[in-house]
């Protein structure tokens, strides 16, 4: 098998961020003029517990190369328990996706608080590099499958 060079590949990554912690943390990263790759697109939700597994499947189906689910730290959820449901759902989802052949790096969850701008930036940097190394998502992208 040929070794593919992914250095010029720009992955598209979708992040679902809760309004109270991670979205706020992302805003703070901006306020502090931190720099991170532009591969990320954020969808704002009230709570990470709002993330329906369907959203994730759809993202991969549409061709995103990676999906990130971010919320408040366990115990800090604005709605008390939302991120506990996220955590359980995430673990289940992850196993399902791995079973379907999606590399584990393509689907990640992170707890980032409203004050952790640095952690937000570092996460985006790391996740982008990890997914860049993997190359494009062919396995679930419908356009590729039906080609």
């Amino acid at each position: 098998m040929a070794i593919t060079d992914n250095t010029n590949f720009e992955p598209k990554i979708l992040a679902f961020c809760c309004n109270w912690c991670t979205y706020t943390g992302a805003d703070l990263a901006g306020l502090n003029r931190m720099k991170y790759p532009d591969n990320i697109r954020i969808i704002r939700l009230p709570c990470s517990g709002r993330v329906n597994p369907q959203f994730i499947l759809r993202a991969f189906q549409k061709g995103y190369d990676g999906v990130l689910v971010c919320g408040c730290h366990p115990g800090d959820c604005h709605y008390t328990s939302g991120n506990y449901f996220t955590r359980r759902r995430f673990l289940l989802m992850k196993r399902l996706l791995e079973f379907a052949g999606i590399e584990r790096e393509r689907f990640q969850a992170r707890w980032i608080s409203g004050s952790e701008a640095g952690k937000f930036r570092d996460t985006i940097l790391k996740v982008t590099e990890e997914i860049r190394a993997l190359g494009p998502n062919h396995r679930m992208k419908e356009a590729d499958i039906y080609d």
């Binding site: 598209k12 990263a29 720099k35 549409k62 061709g63 995103y64 328990s81 939302g82």
Partner: protein, 659 residues
Amino acid sequence: MARAGVFICHCGSNIASVIDVEQVAKSAEQMTGVVYAATNKYACSISGQEMMKQAIIDHQLDRLVIASCTPRMHETTFRKMLGKTSVNPYMLEVANIREQCSWVHTDKEKATAKAIDLVRMSLAKVLKNQPLFTSSIPVCKKCLVIGGGIAGIQAALDIADGGYEVTLVEREPSLGGKMVMLDKTFPTLDCSACISTPKMAEVGAHPRIKLMSSCEVSAVSGYIGNFEVTIKQNPRYVDHDICTGCGLCEEKCPTKLKSSFDQGLGQRKAIYKLFPQAVPAKPVIDAQHCTKLTKDKCGVCAKVCPLGCINFADQESYTTDTFGAIILATGYQLIDWGSHYPEYGGGAYADVISGLQFERLVNASGPTEGKIKRPSDGAQPKSVAIIKCVGSRDVAKAHGYCSRACCMYAAKHAHQTIEKIAGAQVYIFYIDVRTPGKAYEEFYDRTREDGAVYIRGRVSKIYEENGKLICKGEDTLIGKQVTVEVDLVVLETAMEPAANSGQTAALAGVSADKDGWLTEAHPKLRPVETQSAGVFLCGTAQGPKDIPDTVAQASAAAAKVLGLLAKDELETSPMISAVDTSKCSGCRFCEQVCPVKAISMIDIPSIYNGQKVKRTVAQVNSGLCSGCGACSAACRTGCIDLLGFTNKQILEEVDALWQ
């Protein structure tokens, strides 16, 4: 057809220096559904808003995408603006091209491309938006305070003094709680009863406070501003409307019992006031021990009562009332140490007593009139061992937490013993001495100066031999076993949540932590609020604390309630969950995941195979729903959706990138 308008904000140079805003506007114009796109120097400014308003009129726009700073900054501003136009305020999406684009990227080309993507995503979402309407709920200007200890008393007085009606529900026959049982309070040593009984009397006489003693809350429904609360009046067997509190019944009652107020060290009658300064100052009958009620014998009280207040047929009764706010001040109880500590005799030794029992012994109005006497033989103890952390900081046997007040009252007990008994020897066994409070450390210093011997180590065993109580410990500072032989042992026992406080709180939708303490909304920033809007908490119901902290927290809760009751109406967010009952299967999964108990089940009529049947479906209480969307993600049939963040809207956002 939708008629969307897209506005790209320059934000001075904040956005425009990195993103080619004109390019973004040009691209937006090509997108499906967009009838107008323009840029604006400062969208949030008055002129910016006027420009958008004018565009709405000129181009008959029915929805907007504003690409600017984070929606957390100006979404509300723009919604307010739309409120003055023909466009529904919720037909708006804000694309965050400042904090999450121009400020974090440097490559202009890429940043512009990303901004276009972000606009496209917002547009996709806004095309699926539906007009939403806020509603308002009236606020009932009355507060319910549950618990009549010092926390409840303070909160009730503050709110009533602020001009609002308060109903104070107390389970016991009198106000006062634990504080009124205490002798003196640290570190100032002022008399506890002297400072708390005037407050009790004030509550009893306050024109805006309705005091309901011997009462319990049995049901709570409704939501912030409009709680429907059912209160159970337990039978008192004495008509308090007529009773003057003359005390004749109490004097003549032949049945003597151990007084719970005196912690079993003193006596009371079967018809009794909890203590002399009780509020209300009227007696009740202890139904479990009154011989008239248990064996139909006696009835002396009824015979001697000059006003005929005694009613042996009294029954429990229920009243329902509406309140705008609820304060939980259910307090604490002390651990039943005997069942946890067999190595301390498990309660078999009369002279091993709890700290609260010591308070009654040393209290001038207590069973010994303030003389410290051994419960076993009434002798004055010459030596006393005080043992801290009994039931606290003990994961294996009782509670892992620190009860916070014990270090200080242990020092106080030592001080009082030395003060009242000349030449008394006092040993205090401790693990750590914790004195974080104003003038607390100084009090500890003074207790050592008084002559109390502090021994660092937890006592392993207490037993009796030849009339002495033997405490086996280790002085961990010298690393040797030590034994003290004393006449009296005082165990400074752990606080735990009052019995049933968890159930009462659950009625109001408030949860408790693993130890049973009620959970505040945020430990630092929302310390007296709860996850249930309109329900507040204060005092030891929330966690162990001393009197100053309790009173401070009570006033804080009162301030929050005053702020709420000052409003005539509350606006509710329309971005809450809604159920499509035609698809709902009644699986109750949403009910379980809802953090605020906003979802309940109802039966609705339905037709199945031509038959009329009843079907169970979910319904959302709009007053309670906080709009988190957990139910929506959990719903198997997809019938429950979060307005403003519907599945359809989000999926469109996901899809948008590849359109």
